[in-house]
Symmetry: C2
Subunit: 194 residues, 2 copies
């Protein structure tokens, strides 16, 4: 089904997408080359342009795929704010190529209709999960968005710093566990070990 049989490839778009994600995970988005992608897929150098139009179009498609995957991961994580945050960080680490492309507007086409929709979808899942958070019953004073923003910031920052290799070495190998202990500082300021 995904074999390169004859003139038409048959499944070139999906093949290029997975090859692109793998290449980004290996060498970062900047080093990604459409021609190299075509080479890996055993296809002529101009073939990718037909499916994505553009280098930015390819990144846009990756971002869309990323937001959908994130939405699914968050939906599966449950309603606890803590678990939601851990799932966010684990998504970022397990799909670092998607994550990096998703939050770099200068790579993809940020106003793309399909991308807007996917981003809105994952945002809705996030807000739905945060709506009946059990860890913090009393609403914050700076509006309902205040603590959502704080939670989003702390998990996004932790994930970004982890991926950038900027965090100290003593955190271990499990980003989810490390994130859990960090996120806890949001509700229980003076304790992180439970």
């Amino acid at each position: 089904m995904s074999d390169t049989r004859g003139y038409h490839h048959g499944d070139l778009r999906r093949t290029l997408l997975t090859a692109a994600v793998q290449a980004i995970e290996e060498s970062g988005p900047a080093a990604l080359s459409l021609r190299d992608l075509a080479r890996r897929a055993g296809v002529s150098h101009a073939a990718p342009a037909h499916h994505f139009g553009d280098r930015a179009g390819l990144f846009t498609a990756i971002a869309v795929q990323g937001f959908d995957t994130l939405a699914a991961a968050l939906a599966e994580a449950g309603d606890e704010l803590l678990d939601l945050g851990v799932a966010y960080v684990e998504f970022a680490v397990r799909h670092r190529a998607h994550f990096e492309v998703m939050f770099h507007p200068d790579l993809h086409r940020a106003d793309d209709a399909e991308l807007r929709a996917a981003r809105e979808r994952s945002g809705a899942v996030l807000r739905a999960g945060l709506a009946h958070r059990s860890a913090r019953p009393e609403p914050a004073a700076d509006g309902p968005q205040g603590d959502v923003l704080a939670a989003w910031s702390i998990v996004h920052g932790f994930a970004t710093l982890w991926l950038a290799g900027a965090l100290p070495a003593g955190l271990g190998e499990d980003p989810g566990a490390a994130a859990r202990s960090v996120i806890r500082h949001l509700f229980t300021p003076a304790a992180g070990t439970d």
Copy 2:
């Protein structure tokens, strides 16, 4: 002093650096071209290579400059954890080109000696400021690094999301003020207006 007089430019390195920062602020790091930089400085296309060796070398120099500027900004911000965090976010927004390059290891040369030193310098300022934080006297249970990590994560995440344009529109124009209300969630979980 910074004039292009004759065969030797006289101040080409600094000129290229500022031109690079401006170009990155306009179109992002990915679109930066050494040849375009040379053109802006009125210099031949291979001149930048002599000062930075490489495209990665240029980004490394920018990152070094960024960490030094950040260290200065943090040192000037005072000892309060809150003010420290606000200064961090304001630095990221005011020097977004530096900030983006600093935390993208695939752009610069992360093991560069001068870069290591600059990063360590700014890290020391951050830790010094956090050492006698007044807003939270009691130590966290998961070691002294726990709350430092939480604070760093929340400000870094907020700054990153702000720069990515991912935050909702209702936050106003002042990132420092918005950051202040978000950071407050770290110590006072149920209030953010005070």
